[in-house]
Symmetry: C2
Subunit: 645 residues, 2 copies
Amino acid sequence: MKTENIAGTTVLRPPVTVTPRKDLRNWLIGRPLSTADAPHQTIGKAIGLAVFASDALSSTAYATQEIMFILAVAGTGALGYTFPIAMAIVALMAIVSISYEQTIHAYPGGGGAYIVARDNLGELPAQAAGAALLTDYVLTVAVSISSGVAQIVSAFPTLADYKVEIAVSLVAFVMLINLRGVKESGAAFAIPTYFFVVAMFITVGVGLFRLANGSLGIVANPPEMMIEQLGVAVTPFLLLHAFSSGTAALTGIEAISNGITAFKEPRSKNAGITLIWMASILGTLFLGISLIAGKIHAVPSEHETVVSQIARTIYGGQGFAYLAVIAGTAVILIMAANTAFADFPRLGALQANDGFLPRQLTFRGSRLVYSRGIVVLAGLASLLIVLFQASVNRLIPLYAIGVFLSFTLSQSGMARRWWKSGHLKPGLEITEPGSILKFDKSWKFKMVVNGFGAVCTFIVMIVFAITKFQDGAWVIVFLIPSLIVIFIAIHRHYKNLANTLSLSNYQSYQRIQRHRVIVLLGGVHRGSLKALTYARSLSSDVTAVHVSIDPVESEKIRDKWSTFGEGVRLVILESPYRLLVEPVMEYIENISSTTQAHEMITVVVPQFITKQWWGNFLHNQTALLLRFGLLFKPRVVIVEVPYQV
Amino acid sequence: MKTENIAGTTVLRPPVTVTPRKDLRNWLIGRPLSTADAPHQTIGKAIGLAVFASDALSSTAYATQEIMFILAVAGTGALGYTFPIAMAIVALMAIVSISYEQTIHAYPGGGGAYIVARDNLGELPAQAAGAALLTDYVLTVAVSISSGVAQIVSAFPTLADYKVEIAVSLVAFVMLINLRGVKESGAAFAIPTYFFVVAMFITVGVGLFRLANGSLGIVANPPEMMIEQLGVAVTPFLLLHAFSSGTAALTGIEAISNGITAFKEPRSKNAGITLIWMASILGTLFLGISLIAGKIHAVPSEHETVVSQIARTIYGGQGFAYLAVIAGTAVILIMAANTAFADFPRLGALQANDGFLPRQLTFRGSRLVYSRGIVVLAGLASLLIVLFQASVNRLIPLYAIGVFLSFTLSQSGMARRWWKSGHLKPGLEITEPGSILKFDKSWKFKMVVNGFGAVCTFIVMIVFAITKFQDGAWVIVFLIPSLIVIFIAIHRHYKNLANTLSLSNYQSYQRIQRHRVIVLLGGVHRGSLKALTYARSLSSDVTAVHVSIDPVESEKIRDKWSTFGEGVRLVILESPYRLLVEPVMEYIENISSTTQAHEMITVVVPQFITKQWWGNFLHNQTALLLRFGLLFKPRVVIVEVPYQV
């Protein structure tokens, strides 16, 4: 321990080579990292794509089949609408991508929906964006992991009974990895992402080639569909419903705008190009998969994914190529969950720092990650997986509505920002943390682009909420406003606390004029006499109090006290209902109501502490119970005097 | 509150009309009872039979079918051995009953196996009896409730999927009743017990009558047996195995010997006669049921109980008479569980009072019952029911081995006692709590009776352990010794504690010569200044300590402290790993290692307390964490100074 003296204050610095304890936790998540260890590395476009694209790209694994699930209600004939709907979604994707590309340039310090809404729209929209995003990160984990497990189960149907267990274990696994701390710069991300991209491009390419030369058949032994084919007509509502399901393909497209600082300079330019690449790959794969799914008569099913049906039809069986596609898809889905594990704790810490979430979320754990946020996310996602039995099809109606709310808020915020920047004097710059607001001569065009994006995503959100309301979207429609209310209540709590604690107008008039001390006696023995010694060192006004349940016992205590009590007065509280804590509370209440303003009451409780941990279960934890009762009383303090046995 | 002064001590007595709080707990289990309310009523033989016989009599509901379950492995032909085995069990029952009748006379204060073993055999056998009995009470609840549910399911097969849920709800229901406190003297017990006895006697009577005149057929649509009929030979091992299963019929026969004090005077005589009645009824019904079960070709099954098959065959369908038998059987089985709820907490309190179980078990709750024991029993029994899916057939191998161990210990103890009494001088009496040991001229005969009983039950126990070892009895064979080890460890703990705390050779040399106080600062505000005021009232040696995670924050604190710190020295602990508790622990360890023998360190922790309960989740509970770390250090005391916001 190094000691230093700065302006009269002693500062103690631990030696640099602190050896951290070796325990289970360290074995699981690695040795603690010092604050000084925080890494700062930047990445190029190719790695950047791998790091940030897994969430977006992985949605190709389920978006097509979710469109088909809805259409199938109107009979297999209606599945022909899959491809046109996919085209509409890709058009929406293009609008959103172009809109976000502008955000990246405006917010080189990272422009998630929460920050953009907070800077440009105000507190309430920012909290709405926060609520929407946190909800959606939880759903990203649940949906991605469930879909990953569905791929695995497609290839190995015997595992079907253990879907939920496998999914929860995978969540725990990703949680552990994140508690260790993932270096986002790791090239480890690049391999599976590019493997997936290449495998899918080859699959779609081979599929289109075989389609062209007519050698591509239809799915052999298609899985059971398990959907009631009501034979209803194909209504506009049904098409919008299917469209809503498919918009899950857009989730994750905003990931790059959150992580701009990870890119090499010129940051904004690199991040923007990466975003365009990502959107192009995503759109192409999604269209390709949707086209082929229709041609080979794939069916939506809980037993086998559409990706699995496509792969085994194109490769003519479940050989090596098939398994490579399934493995690649499963891995990228798990990595998509990993993205949410990076974003949820970061956003939580941001909101906590603004005072809208518990402060504890800003605390970085031993590995420099926001460990509490990571654990909360894993817990909530596991709960969802158990509740929905790891069924992607049942989770999807809850998903994406939050994403579209955050898209809308982010783009509205940007539109507002361009309007503001257009009204600045040229040359004037307003510096904000992470961004600079200055006049931009093409502000009108940019405002229209972001504004149009906002309008589109807003409409989609409304369509989504209406068409999927009954399927489960109602949960989110009620949840997000409730979360906003909670966030605001938390904020008010912290604000009130800060006011109450504030030292402005503080006058140090506080003096304790009388200090009464009460020693609780369970019996008269070395432990209680130690407590008595301590009590007498605090004040000369000491009273010993015994709660009497058994009159014989009380008599013994009275006798012993006359020998060992050092003349301190003894009060016996009779307890006809055999309660321990309540009579003490009542007694203290009685005497404290007659106290003056500057009087303190200290309650001293002797507590045996045994060497073996289990020994403590053999004693009443009276002190702990009293603590919860008396904490709420002003001017009463509880002291446990431990007596080590 | 009445105040009184006895020999210099103030005694506070609450007014007689304390109005207890009205809350959920009171609504569920009734208003608290004062210690003075403890009832003392006694009962006659007829009510006594009803109160104490339900456990024993209820075993007729499953004992026969458990014999058949084992025999069925050798094919349905082997079921013919059911009746001879039942006769052997009834013979054993007669021996045990006669033996216990003697115990009742020797222990008019109540002579459970634990007391008898403790008084006559010593500590270890007593703890063995305690372990065996506690284990068996848990099993009594699990088996009786499961069998009760099996009866219900026999009549209403649609409920079969909810067996476990129904069983656990019934356990919770019986637990609530017992937390309220059951008046054992209640005539409420008499109605269902006598209803069951009468219904069963009528059923067996009608059955024998129809058997005699040849009108009794065989079971129509017998349930699926679900037993692999291996066609093995009927070996002596198989017969002993079946016999072991049937000995479950003896469980509960000791109940009266535990509860002698509940009887009217002459207590022992009344209790003894009741025991003989009970054994006679039990034996008759068991033989009748076993005979009829064979004649009508009843089959053992998880789907329908043998009692149900007998009743519907005798009454020719599932009419009113059938339902009455099923209902009576189900109710008496639930009442059998109730018996265990009376005995388990009482024995637990007895052992706890002797220091072999946690002292908390001696605490009587608001309704004057040993509520903790009741809750523990309900929890363990529910766990068993869930683990064994409420299957009587799977629980039975664990059952009865403990009963026979306690029978053996109790009767050996009695034999030993007679031997002792035979060697006393005539006229000399040794008074023990609950019994008087004096010369008895027929001591040799009585010793032989109890000794023979002990030998018989010992042999049965060994047979049971061997034949059922693989089926599950191994659990108990390992569990009981483990429990004994735990009991003895607990006893050693309490003995050591008493020695350490003992005031013999105590000299009041303890003086605190130096009292250092440390105030932990999270920030400088009204809360921490209140803590500072308090700290300064304790000692003049005060140090403020701040754990620094963020250097900027620490700088602010140092500034503010120079204004508000009242000149108290400030120490800043740098925490590169962002830990809060550990640096404080380390600092205290450093300074406490250099302290003199008579120095105390008090750590004062300011703690915000918010009005809304949820507010407290928004703050680090540093004090609570420190408490668990520092409790184990001698001469260190933690004080939380609450600051109500």
